[in-house]
Amino acid sequence: MEVNTAKLLAAALALLPLFGVGLGLGKIFSAFIEAVGRNPGAKKDVFQIGLIGAAMTESIAIFALVVSLILIFVVK
């Protein structure tokens, strides 16, 4: 395999964590909807906590993206 091909393949493989991140984000928001359904009064507080959780989960995707970009642009 050529080096460039292997590099691009590795960059694509580095984005595999997005699978788990997608599952996790879906779980956070399904829990959010459930909580609001049970107790609509708590919507504001739960929304804030949920967004912090979503941002923390997203940062895994960002790490994957950074690794992928490093593989494409930095690795010689």
Binding site: Q48, L51, I52, A54, A55, E58, S59, I62, F63, L65, V66
Partner: protein, 243 residues
């Protein structure tokens, strides 16, 4: 016509200006940044010039933003964090207006460039670190080692905590930048579809595009909110250490 969906992120010098080989041109990015600052300042200053106890229609705008951010800071950092309110409020307004002005046709999204968001993120990180050491001294380092755990867990926990602390500016910057870049690229890709498919068939992508515009407006506001709330969460560490 520019058929490249990434053409919108190009920095174009509007007024070329060079000093000793250093390119100091006035670019579209600089123009949009100045517009962001001017509009956010005007939005705050002009309606508040004749401030009344019972707010009028115009006075409601700054009060809405201010009370929103004030409530956020009070909820997340606590009453002792009110001294950070100007910082958090400024960050929110800059990111929000930078995102929203980028939604105008033919304009430029300043937050889609990683250097802009990285400057904001590194600024927040430096403020959190410096204020943490100012408020707590060397005791601030106990942030990396939560108490009440078995001894051997610290061997794993401390490196993880340090890495997650150091990666905060990266996640702050890349999250905002990646969201803006991806959304705007999708918008332009769909616009390109409707141009290529002609007048009648092109209506499909155009309807889709108008829905994506609505989604992008939501993302623009939501990302500004997330940036602000994460800034508050990080500032909370420097205000009070949890033991």
């Amino acid at each position: 016509m520019a058929t490249n969906p990434l053409h919108q992120f190009e920095i174009i010098p509007l007024v070329p200006f060079k000093v000793a080989g250093l390119n100091l041109a006035f670019t579209n990015s600089a123009l949009l940044m100045i517009l962001t600052v001017l509009i956010s300042a005007a939005l705050m200053i002009i309606p508040m010039r004749r401030a009344a106890i019972i707010p009028g229609r115009w006075q409601n705008i700054p009060e809405l933003f201010y009370e929103f951010i004030q409530g956020l800071v009070r909820d997340v950092i606590g009453p002792s964090g009110m001294r950070y309110l100007p910082l958090v409020f400024t960050l929110f307004m800059i990111v929000l207006l930078g995102n929203l002005l980028g939604m105008l046709p033919y304009s430029f999204t300043i937050t889609s460039h990683i250097i802009v968001t990285a400057a904001l993120g590194v600024g927040v990180f430096l403020i959190v670190t410096v204020m943490g050491f100012v408020n707590h001294g060397w005791h601030f380092l106990s942030l990396f080692a939560p108490s009440g755990l078995p001894k051997f867990i610290y061997l794993i926990l401390i490196p993880i905590e340090i890495i997650s602390f150091l990666s905060r500016p990266i996640t702050l910057a890349v999250r905002l930048c990646a969201n803006m870049t991806a959304g705007h690229t999708v918008l332009k890709v769909f616009a390109l579809f409707s141009v290529q498919m002609g007048i009648i068939m092109g209506l499909g992508p155009m309807i889709m595009n108008s829905m994506i515009v609505a989604l992008e407006l939501l993302v623009a506001v939501l990302q500004a909110y997330i940036f602000t709330i994460l800034t508050c969460v990080y500032l909370k560490d420097s205000v009070e250490l949890h033991h």
